[in-house]
Symmetry: C2
C-alpha cells in the first residue's frame, strides 16, 4: 500500500510482517532519514524503562542528533527482559546499520508490545533485508500500521504549506494505548520534516510541541516503559523568521496524533477536550485541564452523559494549581454551567443530550465532548485531551489472560 500524499523530501519508510506478532500483522517498521538529518527525542519519565529507550537517548546525545534510521518493532516491548533487552537492541541496530551502510550509532530502535518476554530476535533479524528493500518515500502508511499493537485505527498525518514559494512538508505517525498481556499502554510517535533546523532550535521546538500535545493527553494516567517521541528534520534551512510557521506545523501534527491516541483509548466512545482559559500560565492551564481529563469520576460521568459539574470542579481543585472558585465560568459544550462560581440556569436535559449525541458522533469529527473552564485570573490558556471511561475499558483490561 502506498500513500497518496507527498511526504517530506528525502525520507523513506517501510513496514512489514516479520513474524513477531502471532496475528501475522505488520510488526516491523523502518524510517530512513537523509544524511545530516537532525533528530530530537523525548522519552518516558518512568524509572522502569526498556533498554532500547536508554540507547535512543544515549545515541541522540552522543551524535548531537545526527541520526539516520529508526527501527521500530511491535509485538514485544523488550522491557524487563534482563540482559536480552540491551543485547537484542544492539544486535538489531547493528544489522540495520550494515544493511544501510551507515554507522550503528546512527540507528535508533523503539519497541512496543508484551513486557517481560524477549523479542523474537531471529524473526526480526531474518526479515531486516526485506524491510530495507521495502523502503519507499510513499510507504509511511505501512510503517504506521507496523507499529500498532491493539490500536483500533492507525494514526498518521501529513501537512504541507508554502514558505516563499517552497513547499514544506511535515509527516507524523503514532501508536496509542493497545493492550497485550502482560502489558500497558505504550505511546510511540515519529515526526519527519523537510526543512533543516539546527539541533538546539529543533530540541526546543519539539519540546514545545510535545508539551502541548502528547504531554496533554491521558487515557488512563499510566506512563509506559517504552513511551517515545522522536522528531527528525532534514533539508535546506529556512529564514529564521519563518521558524514560527514550522513550529505551528509541528504543533498541528503532534496535536492531531495526540488527539487520535486519546480518542482510541480502550473502550472510549468520545474524545474529551478540556480548554482552560484565564490562567496565569500555559502550564497552569494544561495542568488543570489534564487533571480534569484524568479524573475517573469525570470520565465515568461523561460515559453516562451526566453533566456532573461538581466532579469537574473538584478535579480542577486537585490539580495543585491555585484559583478562585468565585471567579470560575464553566461550560459543557455551549451550555454555561457556572457563572463566576455560581450555578447558572441551564437545561440539564439539553446538556445530557449534547453529551449523548457526541458519544455517538462521527469519529474525530462530531464525537468531541468539550469542557471549558475560565479561571478569570490571567490571560493564558491550555488544552488537554482524554476520553470517557466505560465498562468496556474495565473489560479489556481485566480480561482473564493467564
Amino acid at each position: 500500500m502506498s500513500d497518496g500524499e507527498e511526504k517530506p523530501d528525502g525520507f523513506s519508510f517501510a513496514g512489514i510482517a516479520a513474524g513477531l506478532k502471532d496475528s501475522n500483522k505488520k510488526d516491523l517498521a523502518l524510517i530512513l532519514a537523509p544524511e545530516n538529518s537532525i533528530c530530537s527525542g523525548l522519552f518516558t519519565q518512568s524509572i522502569v524503562r526498556a533498554s532500547c529507550v536508554d540507547i535512543c537517548e544515549q545515541r541522540i546525545k552522543k551524535s548531537s542528533g545526527l541520526i539516520r534510521a529508526i527501527l521500530i518493532n511491535s509485538g514485544q516491548a523488550n522491557a524487563c527482559t534482563g540482559d536480552y533487552g540491551i543485547q537484542h537492541t544492539l544486535f538489531a541496530t547493528k544489522e540495520v546499520s550494515q544493511l544501510l551502510g551507515i554507522n550503528e550509532e546512527e540507528v535508533l530502535m523503539c519497541s512496543t508490545g508484551v513486557i517481560g518476554i524477549p523479542i523474537q530476535i531471529k524473526n526480526l533479524i531474518d526479515n531486516l533485508p526485506n524491510l530495507v528493500k521495502e523502503l519507499k518515500t510513499n510507504s509511511l502508511q505501512n510503517a504506521a500500521e507496523a507499529i500498532l499493537t491493539t490500536d483500533l485505527v492507525d494514526k498518521k498525518i501529513t501537512i504541507e504549506t508554502f514558505i516563499e514559494g517552497r513547499k514544506v512538508k511535515i509527516s507524523g505517525f503514532a501508536k496509542g494505548s493497545g493492550m497485550i498481556y502482560p502489558n500497558m499502554a505504550t505511546m510511540l510517535a515519529f515526526l519527519t520534516c523537510d526543512v533543516g533546523v539546527d539541533k538546539e532550535e529543533w530540541d526546543k521546538m519539539i519540546s514545545i510541541a510535545v508539551k502541548k500535545s502528547f504531554n496533554a493527553i491521558s487515557v488512563d494516567g499510566e506512563t509506559s516503559t517504552n513511551d517515545a517521541f522522536i522528531g527528525i528534520n532534514s533539508g535546506k534551512k529556512i529564514d529564521k523568521k519563518f521558524l514560527s510557521k514550522i513550529q505551528s506545523g509541528i504543533d498541528i501534527v503532534c496535536q492531531s496524533l495526540a488527539k487520535n491516541i486519546a480518542r482510541d483509548g480502550e473502550g472510549a466512545n468520545c474524545l474529551l477536550e478540556v480548554l482552560v482559559e484565564g490562567a496565569k500560565s500555559n502550564s497552569d492551564a494544561i495542568k488543570i485541564a489534564k487533571s480534569i481529563c484524568n479524573s475517573s469520576l469525570v470520565k465515568t460521568a461523561i460515559n453516562g452523559c451526566d453533566p456532573n459539574w461538581g466532579r469537574i470542579i473538584s478535579a480542577a481543585g486537585n490539580s495543585g494549581i491555585d484559583f478562585k472558585l468565585d471567579f470560575l465560568d464553566l461550560y459543557i459544550g455551549d451550555f454555561q454551567i457556572l457563572k463566576k462560581g455560581k450555578l447558572n440556569k441551564y437545561d440539564s436535559k439539553k446538556v445530557a443530550n449534547y453529551m449523548q449525541t457526541r458519544m455517538n458522533g462521527k469519529y474525530l469529527v462530531e464525537d468531541i465532548v468539550s469542557i471549558s473552564l475560565h479561571l478569570n485570573s490571567g490571560s493564558e490558556k491550555g488544552t488537554a485531551w482524554g476520553c470517557d471511561l466505560s465498562k468496556k475499558y474495565v473489560e479489556i483490561n481485566s480480561e482473564y489472560t493467564t
Copy 2:
C-alpha cells in the same frame, strides 16, 4: 442502638435522622468532648473546599485545639453553595453551642453529600435539640451511621489497652466513598482518645497516623472538597515514655478505618494491600505503594484475577521514586514473581487462583490481595491500600442521574 464496647471516657455521641436525606436514614451526628479536650485536624488539600472545612481549620487554630463539639451532617456537602455555605455553617454551630452551653468557637462542623445544593438548614436546626438530647457515651454506632452517604457498611473501631493498670481507650469512625449526584467521594473520619496529650505532641501524633493510613489509601485517586480527619483527646495525662503506645493505638484505629474505606470503594470486590520494603525512606515506600494502588491497569488486572506483574512494575516506575529494576523482588500473595528483577518460575494459574479466591473471600478477613515489592535499596518500608476496579465502579459512577 447502643454499642457493647466501652468508649473513651467523657466523650458522648449522637446520631439521628433529621430529614436531610431523602432516604429518611440517619443524617446528623454530634460528638461532645469533655472540657479541656485537645483537638487536631487534617483537611482536604483541594483548592475547591467547602467553607465548613475552612471554619474547622480556623477554629482549631484560633483556640489552639480547645474544641468541645463536632456537628456532622450527611446529605449535602455544603460545597460550591456560594454565601449559603458559610452562613449555614455559622448558624448551625451557633445553635449547637447555645444548646450545649459552650462557646460557638468551640464547635466544628463537617458536611458530606451533594455538592452545589444548599444544606437543608431548617430541618437541621429544628432537629438540633433532639440531637443534643440523644447524646450518650455509648451512641457511637448511631453517629457512625449518621455520617454515611452511599457507603455499603459503617466503619468504626474501638480498641483498649492497659498502661500501668489504667484502662485506655481509643475510638474512631469514618465514612468513605459514597456517591450522590452531583458529587464525589468524601472521606470523613473522627477519633477520640481518653488519654490527655498536649496540643503540639497530639498534632504530631495525628499527622504520623494519617500519613500511614488515610493518606495511604486510594479508591479512585480523587480528593474531595470536604475530606477531613479530626482527632480529639481528653483525660489524665500519661508518662511520656508511654506515648509511643498511644501512637500505636492511634495508628491501629486509623489504619483499620482507612482499610475499611478502601475495601468499601465503589464496586470493589477485594482490599488491595501493597507493601513496599527495602526503600530509602518510609515516605518513598508509601509513594511507590500508592502508585501501584492507584493504577487503573493494576486495579483492572486484579479484578480480572490476572497476575499482570508488568503493570505492577510499571506503576512502581511511575511513582517518581528512584529504584533499580535489577534489585526488585516481587510477590503476589506468597508467590514470588520477580527475583532480583528477573522472572521467577511460578505457576500463573495458581497465582490467578489465589486472586480469584481473595475476590470472593470473607469481607475484610479473606478478601485481601497482597502485593509485596522489595526494592533491596534500603531498610524502610510502607504500605498502601486500594481496591480492584470493576465494571460496577463504572456503572455506579456513570449512572444517568439528571
